[in-house]
């Protein structure tokens, strides 16, 4: 393994930067034997590993294949979005490859056919733990980013309802609480992801931050974001303003808006944050949660809302809960109704095969029995074709 690494490094230096920008098949990733594989983009390799970068694709025949996200896209499209284990994998393999799976394809098809005059349709990804809801969400986000939509991506809404240290009374509304740290973090990522839109969109109202500072009508949205980042106390209000403006302006058709929230059941669950008198807070008392709830309603048009439920990280829910009503509760269901529920299930046999092939090609599976039939059957049995479980198992091999 060490020998191969030392040989890969000099090869990377020899390739000129132009190669990376085209996103062509990146030779350092394949083994030394495949160095003459300079196939063009549209020609998929047999097996699991086509080197295509277009997230949409030809449809069902791409199901089970991996597609690669160019590495330079990652910091702009997913400044904070990728799940931890996947980003570790990206760093290890030096490439970000997502498997194209049926739920994501279905979603992409719907998104392609969206009627932007109709109210935003809400799609909810649900499924058991480890089946790939977050990564399907990321796939959709990348697709929309490639198509130049404006992305509002909240990677984990659960983080906003737990263990937040700086809780302040909101200046805007006495009943609600601000979370400056989380809001500032989110604003930073939002800025990196949607840099080009921030100067194009102009706000439609004047906002007074305090007696001396205000943002006039007609200024670009970037100024509101800057204000939130520099004055952290106003960060939560800045987030609220950004969301409000985006919602009202997406109807005009200047841009398409995608709202992607992971762990959306946190918005209607319970929190572990305490008020000054040590009583637990309800989620509606948090200003961030309040603005996000308004965002996922379908009273705007010109975009779509893709949500993913998540039990990991959710508070006070049983571990086996994975169905929409169990996780969202009555309130959440009534708020999101009508939505399109999309089930994300474990790997089908072809997808499992494809995943194992991918790991083998990247020499991730070092065990001698890994490529034999019994080895694969054993992995299938141990992981029950659950993607998360399989990934964890293969990490040991």
């Amino acid at each position: 393994m060490l020998k191969r690494v030392t040989r890969l490094v000099p090869r990377a230096c020899q390739l000129d930067p132009g190669h990376f920008l085209h996103g062509g098949p990146q030779a350092p990733q394949s083994l030394a034997a495949r160095l003459d594989d300079q196939v063009p983009d549209e020609n998929p390799r047999a097996g699991s590993h086509p080197s295509e970068d277009d997230p949409a694709g030809a449809g069902e025949q791409r199901e089970g294949r991996h597609y690669r996200i160019p590495l330079q896209d990652l910091p702009t499209v997913f400044p904070h979005g990728l799940p931890r284990r996947f980003s570790l994998q990206v760093r290890t393999f030096n490439e970000a490859c997502l498997m194209v799976r049926r739920p994501a394809l279905e979603l992409l098809r719907h998104l392609d056919d969206t009627n932007f005059a109709h109210p935003a349709v809400r799609y909810v990804l649900y499924g058991e733990k480890g089946t790939g809801k977050t990564l399907s969400l990321c796939h959709v986000v990348h697709f929309c980013a490639k198509r130049d939509w404006l992305i509002v991506h909240v990677p984990d809404a659960h983080l906003w309802v737990k263990s937040s240290r700086g809780l302040l009374r909101s200046a805007y509304s006495r009943r609600r609480f601000d979370q400056p740290v989380e809001a500032a973090n989110w604003l930073k990522s939002f800025k990196t992801a949607n840099e080009r839109f921030l100067s194009q969109i102009k706000i439609q109202e004047t906002y007074m931050w305090n007696k001396r500072e205000s943002t006039e009508k007609g200024r670009p949205l970037g100024e509101v974001v800057e204000q939130g980042l520099t004055r952290v106390k106003n960060a939560t209000d800045a987030v609220g303003i950004v969301l409000k403006e985006l919602k009202s302006q997406s109807c005009s058709g200047a841009f398409r808006l995608l709202v992607a929230v992971d762990g959306v059941n946190a918005l209607w669950g319970r929190t572990t944050l305490k008020r000054e008198d040590k009583s637990l807070m309800a989620p509606e008392e948090l200003a961030l949660v309040h603005s996000l709830r308004k965002m996922v309603r379908n009273d705007w048009h010109g975009g779509a809302v893709v949500l993913a439920l998540s039990q990991t990280g959710s508070l006070f829910t049983p571990r086996m809960a994975c169905l929409p009503q169990e996780l969202l509760g009555k309130e959440g269901f009534d708020a999101l109704d009508p939505f399109v529920p999309i089930l994300v299930s474990n790997y089908s046999p072809e997808e499992f095969e494809s995943c194992i092939q991918y790991y083998l090609e990247n020499s991730w599976l070092q065990h001698e029995k890994a490529h034999t039939e019994e080895g694969k059957k054993e992995l299938l049995f141990l992981s029950d074709a659950n993607p998360g479980q399989l990934e964890r198992l293969c990490a040991y091999l």
């Binding site: 005059a117 109709h118 349709v121 929409p324 009534d334 109704d337 009508p338 399109v340 529920p341």
Partner: protein, 325 residues
Amino acid sequence: MAAAALSAWLTLQPGTRTLRAFCTSVSPATRSAIPSPRTADRRPRYERPLRRKALPPRTEKMTLDQDWPSVYPVAAPFKPSAVPLPIRMGYPIKRGVPMAKEGNLELLKIPNFLHLTPVAIKKHCEALKDFCTEWPAALDSDEKCEKHFPIEVDTTDYVSAGPSIRNPKARVVTLRVKLSSLNLDDHAKKKLIKLVGERYCKTTDVLTIKTDRCPLKRQNYDYALYLLTVLYHESWKTEEWEKDKTEADMEEYVWNNSSSEKNILETLLQMKAAEKNLEVNKEELLATKEVEEYKKSVVSLKNEGDNENTLSQYKESVKKLLNLM
């Protein structure tokens, strides 16, 4: 020296089985301390009462076609010599089996029904037939019994040999009735179910009233009937405070005036507005086939909970409604 000490220790232990090899090395001091049975009774052998040899157990003389109810006519403790079955009971120690029936306390402790074999019960029934009346011929099916006699009353009488014929357990009266045989409308049925609480079983639709608060059985029976009457009449009345029934009190999901209905209406209105179609009114929108399907799927989702079926139904109806197909 070590052997002598070991043997002394072994003999001093009350429950251990001493090996024969060590018996010979028992010291004279220990032997005289333990009284042997031979020295207790000093009468000469011919004057002592003769001890009978143990006879073979009765089971060996039992034939296969014997009359078992005469061996165990009443409830009696388990007699290993009278029961010809090779029963073992007990927890087996390592490399052992459960203990045999001779001298087995476990078999004595548990209740046995050796006096109630099918043959014995047949005999009891034959004897009781003289005291019974004929079953009415017209009531030959369960449905007819339910139709004509919807209320079932269970009482128990106790007979025992003792100084008194009274038994306090005999005053318990259980009254069972199916709610489908009562004349109740929707509101009355829901109110009745809320009033009785635990006494109603949803799967069998049976209301069970068990009374034992009066000292006599007759009084308890009257009280049970009185309770049924009161419940029936009260559930038909509607009180003023019943208007305050909130959504949380509802037993099942009701679509009308629910938030789901409002949501879908808003969505549809917005869609129509986008298509510049402003002349539709609410009733028309709600009466379309897609909305009906959606309503059914939401009701089933809320009432039955999440499962594959309901969720896929809901998904299809939403897709049709929002024109996503």
